[in-house]
């Protein structure tokens, strides 16, 4: 009898394995067609010359395009801007996200309404929120200048998106406005998984709200923080819509993705455009891997 069970068990395991493959193959085929093939074609393009449009013979040029984009001052500025967007956006999202989550974790009247309102900016497509904020920042007819002029805080209209650092801060705020609800919900879900008994026990031991937050909430939120960090970073590194709608391809706010767009679609320089896109993809992959590792450590 045990032998028969073993044989049946082996067959069942084999069938399960085959079923698994059958279920996975369509997804693998779709991924190959939609992601791997363009990835390979894109990489091919990134190591080829610009061709006839750039007065060159078609052919492979090795890493030349990568060296070109890494040495190009405009691309380097775009990389620096992107780093600023990421650092500022992620910092704000983590701090404000935890604050909002802790606030909403408490039961209070109207909490459901506040939650619904909180979701709204996230539900809006980033282009739409960009258009809304453009009306706020518009130097000639914008809401912000109108209010500040009316209150005599400024004497003449200010061009909010003309300065370097200032413009990056304002665009980051618009980005954070859209992403903060998602980050807050991630933290809120994390908070709701913390048993109330832990807080009750700490209260009995004399821990106040700050000590509870410092020694209970924050450590137990580490898995949520890793997820929020990952999501926030990936969204900030790929920032495009808000910049394009608010300030176009202006040099002072250009991110790497805007530079990829400009190089590829405005200048029709697909070789350098894809090379820059692959640089961005590599950085994103490294960061994603790092965060995945951090997440694994915080959850094991």
């Amino acid at each position: 009898m045990p032998g028969r069970w073993n044989r049946e068990g082996d067959r069942s395991a084999r069938e399960t394995q085959i079923l698994g493959w059958i279920l996975v193959v369509p997804a693998m085929a779709a991924v190959s067609a939609l992601i791997l093939y363009p990835l390979v074609k894109g990489f091919q393009q990134s190591i080829q010359s610009g061709g006839i449009l750039f007065g060159e013979l078609p052919g492979y040029v090795g890493t030349r395009n990568y060296r070109d984009v890494l040495n190009d001052p405009t691309s380097r500025d775009a990389m620096r801007h992107t780093l600023e967007y990421v650092l500022l956006a992620v910092s704000l999202e983590l701090v404000l996200g935890i604050f909002v989550a802790v606030t909403l974790h408490r039961v209070f009247r109207g909490r459901g309404f506040v939650l619904a309102v909180l979701i709204l900016p996230w539900a809006l497509p980033s282009v739409v929120s960009g258009v809304l904020w453009r009306r706020v920042f518009d130097p000639d007819n914008g809401l912000l200048n109108s209010v500040l002029l009316h209150l005599h805080i400024i004497n003449q209209p200010h061009v909010w998106l003309a300065s370097g650092r200032g413009a990056i801060v304002y665009i980051t705020l618009v980005h954070v406005w859209g992403v903060l609800p998602l980050i807050s919900l991630i933290f809120l879900a994390g908070l709701q998984s913390v048993p109330d008994e832990v807080y009750s026990a700490s209260a009995v031991d004399g821990a106040g709200p700050w000590r509870q937050f410092r020694y209970i909430t924050l450590p137990l939120l580490r898995p949520s923080m890793a997820i929020a960090l990952t999501v926030g970073t990936l969204l900030a590194i790929s920032i495009f819509d808000e910049i394009y709608v608010l300030n176009g391809t202006a040099l002072n706010t250009r991110s790497i993705l805007i530079q990829v767009y400009n190089t590829t679609f405005v200048e029709a320089d697909f070789a350098h455009g894809t090379a820059l896109a692959f640089v961005l993809a590599a950085v994103t992959a490294v960061l994603g891997g790092f965060y995945a590792l951090a997440l694994r450590r915080s959850t094991v």
């Binding site: 006839i52 449009l53 750039f54 007065g55 001052p73 405009t74 518009d138 130097p139 000639d140 007819n141 003449q156 209209p157 200010h158 061009v159 998106l161 003309a162 300065s163 370097g164 300030n247 176009g248 391809t249 202006a250 040099l251 002072n252 250009r254 400009n262 679609f265 405005v266 200048e267 029709a268 320089d269 697909f270």
Partner: protein, 417 residues
Amino acid sequence: MAIAAALFAASCGGSSSSSGSSASSESIRGQTITVLVPYVMPQKLLNQFTAETGVNVNYVRTGWDATHNKLIVANTAKTYIADVAEFDWSFTGQFAGAGWVEPLDNLLPAKTLADLKSTDAAFVSGGKTYAACYSNDFRLSMYNKQMFAKAGITSFPATFDELATDIQKLKASGVKYPLQIPMAATEGGITPWYLLTLAMGGQLFDQNLKPVFQTPGSAGYKALQWEADAVKNGWVSPGSVALNDDIALNDFLAGQSAILFATGPGNLPTANDPSQSSIVGKAALGLVPGVTGPGASFGLPEGLSIPVTAKHKAAAAAFINWWEQPKNAIAIYKTQGSLPCGTSTIKQMVATGQLQGGDVLNQELTHVGPLFQAGAPIWYSQFSADAQGLANAAVKGQMSVQDALTQLADKASARTQ
């Protein structure tokens, strides 16, 4: 007639026999073509075309920059995007060089091509014509007569010195920002710099396509400095540094400024259209100012092309031919603001008094020349993209005019090597 002659001084002596051919209406009946053009087109006119030919039209309108980018992507990928597509003067080197569009010499009737011969010169490469001109565009100025009268100004300034004086008068009369100049990092935002460079008596490139705009004494340098000073001096609104040409036009039509510095000849009918303008009857055309008298301007005609990937080329050719017929081109001029290109169309407009601002157009045309003597070079897109970003940074004060133009010249030199 003199106006028509000036608009089209070039010979129209092509054969009247049709060496090209339009497909018979039966072979194209029932087909649906996609037309990609950056300007509005009344559905009523499209319905007329469908009624005449049996061809349905899917008219897609996107902004100029977006249209350009969509065409580049589709053409590079060799995929279908439209049967009839926008073809700007600046596309000629790149699009014809890459073989992205069909030569029209055998697709349009010879009579139509002959009628367009003068303006179509901008779309000729290697002896072949790649587009049929539909917008006889060149740069000139438009101003608000009422605001000028209130400021005590009796005529449009002919020189930059007079312009500066008039701007002060307009400001004194209560016009906060008299000038309207788009300066965003877009194609429409860089055009005023090109115009100012020519108007100040210079060129962007020499005969060998070497940049000549980076030294402080050059017209290109003075032109960009003039734009930066216009922002600093409050001649233009602070928001001009982020303003595109279509928004600049809308603001002028809303009566927010007295002078629209670099605009097209077809925008006067738009300014006089009550459905699109609040300054009806108050707008007039003015010559581009210069150093000692009216300055030079340049032509930037736009045409209709047939991409090599078009699905219905015969129907597309029929549509282009329909657009170019005087009756239709005039109807489109009145609604869309594109000044027609055909000699016979202009003659008809002059004869029937439908050409608005004809005297100024006639005078301005004596100052119009090409931006590039040998046609738009193949690297124009890259040069323009660089210029848009750097000039925008200079007018915003993020970098000096010298730094911006030195960088631009270095990049341009690298492209021409």
